[in-house]
């Protein structure tokens, strides 16, 4: 049981919303991961749909790469649509 692989759990809380990462758990296979996720993460009606993904299948960016990956975007304000004048009737932009 100690060598069971780790799975990442994604829950969709309502139809129409996206699945969001909510945690991880150990399970021997995909079916068990799904059932464990149901029991651990949806017992207070948090979800209508579950995805489980083997954690090993996720490729993550490294913290030491963050300068080259993310800093160049910091001074490019023209990429943000902040120069448009929006009519008052338009909400939630």
């Amino acid at each position: 049981m100690k060598d069971w692989p780790l799975w990442e759990v994604f829950i969709r809380s309502k139809n129409g919303l996206e699945h969001r990462h909510c945690g991880s758990l150990h399970a021997a296979d995909a079916q068990m991961a799904l059932e464990n996720a149901r029991d651990v993460y949806t017992r207070r009606s948090e979800g209508v749909s579950i995805w489980v993904v083997p954690s090993a299948m996720i490729t993550a960016s490294q913290p030491e790469e963050s300068a080259e990956l993310f800093d160049p975007a910091a001074d490019k304000a023209y990429r943000h649509p902040t120069f448009y004048v929006l009519p008052d009737e338009l909400k939630h932009m």
Binding site: M1, W4, L25, H26, A27, A28, Q31, M32, E35, N36, R38, D39, V40, R43
Partner: protein, 250 residues
Amino acid sequence: MSKALIQYICTVADNNLILGQRLGELCGHGPNIETDIALTNIGLDLFGQVRSYFQYAAKLEGGNSSEDTFAFLRKENEYKNVLLVEQPNTDFAYTILRQFLYDVYHIRFMEHLQQSNDETLAAIAAKGVKEVAYHARFSADWVRRLGDGTKESHRRAQQALDDLYTYTDELFHHNESELNLVNEGIAVNTAQFKSDYYQTIHAVFSEATLQVPDQKYFLKGGKKGIHSEHMGYILTEMQYMQRTYPNMQW
């Protein structure tokens, strides 16, 4: 009529009550945290159904009775659960096999109870049937995993099946209070899904590479209030608070 109905409600609810108590014993002792939560969830589902049954029984009985007097203040021979559900949590394989043998029965029972002429019982069944469908799925998956798993898990699963199979036949016995209620369309006639029950569990055992025991004699007694030696210990623990501090409330 009302007395027979109360008896029947106890016959039905006591299975859930005692199995729920057995599962509750495992709280904090599951093989890992996910399975621990899963088994406790199942126990809580069963207790939720028990509360509905006993609230109904208390209403029928009237007087000072309540869901608590039914759950905690009866004597051993007044509990009518089948022997299967009082069997101990010998190991994880026993816990799973006991659950599976009950769940496959329970889901069929609830499906039929939904058609009962008694509206309250039908409503309790309609609410509980989805919970039980999940229990049956959970336990069947684990039977397959243990049986068709490692050499050790297979050995333990087979041992549990060999020991527990003898308690399955009692699920389909009717005590006297039930027979009249079956004829009135209130109680479930369990005989009608007995062969389906055995076909279903045997199919899962075959997938799990487990041998069905060659059983000639089956044990029974619980439904008549004649229990195994385990029952007294269960009740001692379960009833302790109400016996020591009568009428205590949370």
